[in-house]
Amino acid sequence: METLKKKTFSSDISVDNSNGEHFVTVGQDSQLKYWKLNSALDDQKTPAHSIALDGIAYGVSHITFSSDFVTCGEDISVWKPFRDTPLRSYNLGTDTIHTCRANPVEENVIVGARADRSIFVLDTRQEVPLKKITMKMRPNKISWNPMEAYTFTVASEDFSLYTFDMRYMEHPVQSHQGFTSAVLDVDYSPTGQEFVAAGYDRSIRLFKARDITSRDVYYTKRMASVLSVLWSADSKFVLSGSNEMNIRVWKANAAEKLGPLTKREKQAFAYNEKLRDTFKNHPEVRRIAKHRNVPKHIFAAAKEHKVIRDSRARRDLRRAKAAGLDEDESYLPQTKKAMVGDAE
């Protein structure tokens, strides 16, 4: 890919998943480029098609089982391949739309995030945006669950990820915590069971789709802040692109043995896994299963954040008590704290 765009920084890329022959890139040069995939392996200098845009496009995403795609920037545009003008454009206001993702199951639904910290839902059959909600901190990236048509997860600037149910957007259904810095990217496993998130704190975390805490954390000594992550299509690997110009391939399940397994190996692994699962609620088993060595800066930051969180909780409780509320009344879960005002 580096050979394709030597000169300009490309901000997003999307592969046509209906026939798998083309992919689209958008970048800082205000160009939308349409490339052939099979010839990308050769030294391809020029794209198959290129369109000059009015402004910079920050994101591109293919509509599922179709060659059409959506770009976002100043507005949202739906494109057909090899056409110089978009099919439709949605003007959502003056704020820049920095990310958008088409639903992998429901082909008409698009969700995106804007610079005013809002997340919107769009239906390409309609002329107006359907729903807009605003978070307290900026949503950086969004990823749909490929197995659940109405679930998507947002990587937020406030060190957490939030999973939303598209139908009930007033507040997220779950928050995912553990990062010690902003979360820059998120991608679901194709099985929809897990997702991977990239952190500015130089780590990658793997979450179970409905768990608060991460299942695993990946880091290496020389890896800088991770800008993007991707889960491989066979769900066995995770890819990360980080600020020090490296792409890394990680195993999605670190302890898994790669390559063909004998029957007895398979059985043994399944048995061990089942044992771990059965006794996962025993304190000592849980302690061992959860324990991860993390770099010093993450460890220290996590500790500090805990202190801050606790003190804030105490403060809130004190204020609530002063206002005449009791503990239960005043309690707000993290999922509700992350939102601003009412949804539109």
């Binding site: 048509a149 399944a270 025993h282």
Partner: protein, 660 residues
């Protein structure tokens, strides 16, 4: 457009009015223009795109029919003229400016449209996906790529050949698998029947008496069980059954089947009775006698024993009751013998017995005394001072009553104190205080009769004999740790009802003494403290001694063996006990959740479970090959998610799933 439409009705009316009232001054009133209200209906009417949801919304607001019904009967001239006016206005506006509707309205319209569209989308998505998503979430195993509902893998759909009914029948008939299955089933059935037959045959042949006895017992048990069931289900039937059972038993016993069945008897018969008819007779007689005797002895023995016991008990209680009472009484009587006066003894008696009747006798005694004293006074005038002192004493009725009350109050207090303190002092104090109390009348007596030192000294002696002894005992027992006795906090009553006082009087002090006597040797509190010390010792965190032979012995000069050892001892942290210094309380701390096995056991019920039993059952289920067949193991240990390396998993395909 009709001609009338040109005439403005309101203006026309006004004109007519001005004509009718010629003198009136024309007033031009400035009126505030009414604000145009924007309601949902006006906004919705702007939406020209016909969509199911917008149509529904319009219908609910009642604007849907407007366009169509307007031309009907309701169309008056007025409305028509209004419509015409509006048309003209809009035309003018179009010409003048490009902004037809205020931006605010556009935004509001967009918002409404968006809301409606969102609800549509929500419904659609919920309808299409909820079921699948939920089932996937709770399924035990997901194998990717997911299968379609009809069981065909996505991506490699194969069309199966369509068969006619006849073909299906042939297929069924020629199915080897099914035939084999049926054969094996029949074989199994035959084998089961054969085994059962063989078993029955074998059982019938068994002659063992023990076996039959066991069998019979089991049958009886079974029968009883059935009978119990029957009682709960159908009492009438149970009655009949019971009668039947009884009858059976009577028949059985009546058959004389069980007579003389034991081995020893048989042997004797074989040896002697068979030869000698006289011996046989004797044996029979013995047997009968034995039975009779046995029956009698059981009945009589029971009665005797109970009688004896009750008699003994009575005796014991009597002796117990009297023991202390007698002691004092004897002393008093001894004194009485030597004294001429019986007054003192009677007094003492009256107080000892402490009954109303005796109080009356006491009063009589006093009257006597008074008479005597008066005589003495008349004879010797030097006793005037004492007479004045005595005066209140001789008021037979009133003063006695007063005193009585006072004494009652005293007693009340004393009793309370006695209850808390003197239980442990084995009743001795009870006696002394008692004696001290009736010291007052004694003093009166002394004052009344100067010459009778004899009697007083005797009484004193008697009292002292009891009192000093008690004092000594008390001294002894006070030396014992006071913390080993129960403390009772009591408050003095300010007012007590009269009948309560009466009752208190009736309470026999001696019974309390008896109780004290009975539990003299039981040191409950002390025992409890001992137990507590034991628990404390047991639960005390001990130092960990890490000394190993040979380790650390090379540290050189200056270190003694003791110092060296100390280096390897990890001192235990002092732990504050929960029961601490509180008396009469032990809180065991070794069995808290954090210690022992609780450390590695889950402390709360994890999420999907609602009952502890369920969770325990899951944990108890053995998983390994040591307890399960391989197939079972594989079934139980199947992974939650199965993916094939290198095979891309695509998102759920809506078209395939919904058959579009």
């Amino acid at each position: 457009m009709s001609d009338d439409s040109d005439i403005d009705d309101v203006a026309h009316q006004r004109l007519l009015q001005s004509i009718q009232t010629p003198g009136s001054v024309k007033k031009t009133r400035l009126k505030k223009g009414t604000k145009q209200k924007i309601d949902a209906s006006s906004l919705l009417s702007h939406i020209t795109v016909s969509r199911a949801s917008t149509n529904k919304a319009k219908e609910s607001l009642g604007i849907a029919g407007l366009e169509t019904t307007e031309s009907g009967e309701k169309s008056t001239k007025k409305r028509k003229s209004e419509a015409a006016n509006q048309e003209e206005k809009t035309k003018k506006r179009k010409l003048k400016s490009k902004t037809l509707i205020p931006l605010k309205d556009v935004e509001a319209r967009k918002a409404i449209e968006g809301k409606i569209a969102f609800n549509d989308l929500k419904k659609e998505v919920t309808h299409n996906w909820t079921e699948l998503v939920q089932s996937n979430r709770i399924s035990e195993q997901l194998i990717f790529p997911l299968t379609k509902p009809d069981g065909v893998l996505w991506g490699d759909e194969k069309t199966e050949p369509i068969l006619t009914e006849k073909e299906m029948e042939v297929m069924k008939a020629t199915d080897i698998k099914m035939a084999k299955e049926r054969l094996s089933q029949m074989q199994r059935m035959r084998a089961i029947v054969g085994i059962q037959e063989a078993k029955n045959r074998y059982m019938n042949k068994i002659k063992s008496k023990g076996y039959h006895r066991i069998l019979k017992r089991e049958k009886r048990k079974q029968l009883l069980k059935e009978f119990d069931d029957l009682v709960t289900r159908d009492p009438n039937a149970a009655h009949e059954k019971l009668a039947e059972l009884d009858l059976q038993r009577v028949m059985e016993r009546g058959s004389l089947k069980h007579r003389g069945q034991n081995q020893k008897f048989k042997q004797m018969l074989e040896k002697h009775a068979s030869r000698n008819p006289e011996v046989k007779k004797l044996l029979d007689e013995h047997l009968r006698m034995g039975r009779e005797l046995k029956a009698k002895v059981v009945a009589a023995g029971n009665g005797d024993a109970s009688d004896d016991e009750s008699a003994n008990k009575k005796d014991e209680t009597l002796t117990k009751k009297k023991s202390i009472h007698d002691l004092l009484k004897d002393a008093a009587q001894e004194a009485e013998k030597e004294s001429k006066q019986k007054v003192g003894a009677a007094l003492l008696d009256s107080f000892l017995d402490d009954t109303d009747a005796q109080k009356v006798t006491l009063a009589q005694m006093r009257a006597k005394k008074r008479q005597e004293a008066a005589q003495i006074r008349s004879i010797s005038a030097n006793l005037a001072g004492s007479a004045t002192k005595d005066q209140p004493l001789f008021d037979e009725t009133e003063t006695w009553e007063e005193q009585n009350e006072q004494e009652k109050a005293d007693k009340k207090k004393a009793k309370k104190q006695r209850h808390k303190k003197e239980k442990s002092r084995k009743g001795t104090i009870g006696v002394t205080s008692y004696v001290r109390k009736d010291y007052d009348p004694k003093a009166e007596a002394r004052k009344a009769e100067d010459g009778e030192d004899n009697f007083d000294s005797k009484v004193d002696k008697a009292v002292e004999a009891a009192g000093v002894h008690a004092e000594e005992k008390r001294q002894k027992e006070i030396e014992i740790d006071p913390s080993k006795f129960l403390e009772l906090n009591t408050h003095d009553l300010t007012q007590v009802s009269a009948d309560f006082v009466d009752k208190m009087d009736q309470f026999d002090e001696e019974t309390s003494n008896v109780i004290n006597e009975a539990f003299k040797d039981d040191d409950v509190v002390g025992d409890f403290e001992e137990i507590k010390e034991g628990v404390k010792d047991k639960e005390k965190v001990k130092d960990i001694d890490l000394n190993l032979a040979g380790w650390g012995s090379w540290v050189g000069p200056g270190t003694t063996e003791k110092k060296r050892r100390r280096n390897f001892v990890v001192k235990a942290k002092e732990k504050k006990r929960k029961d601490g210094e509180r008396n009469g309380l032990i809180i065991t701390e070794s069995l808290t959740a954090k210690d022992g096995i609780g450390k590695i056991q889950p402390r709360s019920l994890p999420f999907p479970y609602s009952r502890v039993e369920d969770y325990e059952a899951v944990l108890k289920q053995p998983l390994g090959l040591d307890w399960n067949m391989e197939k079972m193991r594989d079934e139980m240990c199947k992974p939650a998610v199965v993916v094939e390396a290198g095979r891309a998993i695509r998102p759920i395909n809506k078209k395939v799933l919904l058959g579009e």
